[in-house]
Symmetry: C4
Subunit: 227 residues, 4 copies
């Protein structure tokens, strides 16, 4: 629908655009589908205790699964909000954004595996490797989201208007701290897996809350420009 | 699409809106995805008897699973209809509604776990705790839905028109009885789990049927105002 | 979006409509989600042989699962096409169509369970009951789809135009044979489960192919009227 | 939405179109749903090692599962991009394209089964048959996608404009090499399963990367025509 509307838009000639551009609504529908499925598949990994003894104790014993579940839910929710913020600024997609999104979703769709791996080995000899792999998966998904923003900021013909480029740059800049912190966490996982998990939790909170501050910051900075 | 359309809308300046608002269609697509996935994942918990003896008896023995399945299906269906009624009145989303919706969907996506937990422990020593956790999960999802309505009723710039605020208030007011009854059920679960389940069933029926009466009530009350 | 567009439509007053009507796009997104998830969850029930002996023989031994899979896929595909044909003629939804669709989707979402039940008991003493339950599930989903058409045909204010009512009636009339045949199959399942399965296969083929003929029939009948 | 818009379009009479055409948005939503679900269900087949010994070794021992996962992900991603490229050129659907898409999605939805089958038997006596079945599944999905393009190229009334037909032909022509190579791989699987897998990997890369070159080729060829 976006596609059919864009044919009438005044930017460039219809012929070139049809060849080079792809519909934003298909990208969004597929991405929303993958985000929604991954976020709900995670719950299947939560262990339902079969004990007839003390149910509360049995539930508490599953804490690594619940911790891993909450971290993954927060990251995927944050990715979804960030991706929505990006496509809000995007009028069209091209073959590159489709493929970059596919790579980003590859790492997102691996999360039920890496979450389950970490939950199973959080306590024990495999904790370093499993926390490393889990963090690496989160890092690569965040990194790809960042690359999509950088790419779009260089392609004004894909954006809704001239201000969008600046907004993408500010957004990407602010996310950078989160990604760098995430990278530090991944490296630390090989030595101090518990510290790494604390860092992942902080980054999840940062990614979820930061756009709230970002919204205000940008509004102020744009209002300043407008003066 | 909603987003791109809203840029041309006469409300406020385009610059502020772009920074502060998020696309309604992404929120709906993600929420519909989570609702649809959770409602269909529930069926995977239904036990398929492997017995070669009396299949009918084996199926009837799985009644706690079927009961829990039907209650959860009714609640999720009710949440979906209520959420559709809300977004019908919403023209745009902001960073707060995205996050509130994410928290609401967190409790919805936990339902396959809590449903399975209750079904497994409905008969036995874990019945009080499992019925309590299940009811609490339903209560928190209902409560978040309510908070979304309250928030939107205070943000006219996100709504389709001036009447929408009043409708949200009436809707939220009518749902309140259901949520309070639900809360009573959750507390009772710790003492009388079977009574709690009867209450959950009543609330599910109330949430499913009440908008039918609500529709008529509101129509009448608005017609009165119009006179 | 459909909703926001409909506010400007000339039918009736905006106030009444907002109270009584619900957005078609949410209904479609949820229904498409459930159809897509159920149709792909079915594949999880297909047995992957772990034998290191003769793989071909092991695969062929799983024929009841593959047969049940293909029948369910065909029925769900047919339901999806029929539902798309219905909503193509629908401009708006009301609280009744949302609830009828939810009940229809309840029986659709039960299909992974009933398909798995039939596949497991197709050979053995449970064949009559399992084939009966499976057929009943298909029958009730088909029946609800039929009831949605009947309801819409009586509510012209929900339809795209005056001809839509007649089309719904013709569609519903032609589907009736399939539903009646399905009902006969369900009853026969209690005595001759293999004959019942042959009937289910025929009905699946009928539901998939019939709209192709229906399209031509209706086009002819409407062209006649137009003369 | 597309449907309701198309009623006002100038092509042909409204009456005929309503009977013969179906909404593109429902087709896309259902296809995106199936693609997204299948691509994320695949991850459930990845084995999470339960060993407390050497976790790295245990992970590496699961290489057939990871290899099969990556190939399937690449193919499904490629199918999704190709399908988006097709529907970008499509204005309306008819009863034939709905059914062709359903058959294509049937083979796509079988992929979690055939991927799991190949992963389990990649090493051992079942390797020829399992690699053959897996490749055949990919081949049939690719083939159906090709048939949809051929069908659409002969139905200008379903396309967005006159140039779309030519684009579909070029696209379909370029995909042909991939499909033929895929077919060779399937046949080879019965004798040299490892060579077949190497071919599947090449075809996956070809399907993912080729539209990037295609975009440039077509743009050039159309610009030439325009001169």
């Amino acid at each position: 629908m976006v596609a059919s509307r864009s044919y009438d838009s005044p930017k460039g000639s219809g012929r070139n655009r049809r060849t080079a551009f792809l519909p934003t609504d298909r990208l969004n529908a597929f991405a929303d589908g993958v985000f929604a499925i991954v976020i709900t598949l995670l719950v299947l990994e939560l262990p339902v205790p079969e004990t007839t003894e003390d149910l509360l104790l049995a539930l508490l014993a599953g804490w690594p699964d619940f911790l891993a579940y909450v971290i993954s839910f927060a990251f995927i929710g944050g990715f979804w909000i960030t991706h929505s913020s990006i496509t809000k600024l995007t009028e069209q997609e091209d073959h590159i954004t489709f493929r970059m999104t596919l790579v980003m979703l590859f790492f997102v769709s691996l999360l039920p595996f890496s979450t389950s791996l970490m939950a199973m080995h959080l306590v024990g000899s495999g904790s370093r490797l499993s926390v490393f792999i889990y963090g690496l998966d989160l890092f690569l998904a965040s990194f790809m989201l960042d690359q999509i923003m950088r790419y779009l900021a260089r392609r004004p013909e894909l954006l809704v208007d001239g201000l969008a480029k600046e907004e993408l740059r500010v957004m990407e800049h602010q996310r950078l701290y989160g990604i760098m912190l995430d990278g530090v966490g991944v490296l630390l996982a090989l030595f101090l897996p518990r510290v790494a998990i604390a860092i992942y939790v902080s980054v999840a909170i940062y990614f979820i809350l930061q756009p709230l501050f970002f919204g205000r910051t940008l509004k102020r900075s744009l209002e300043k420009q407008g003066e």
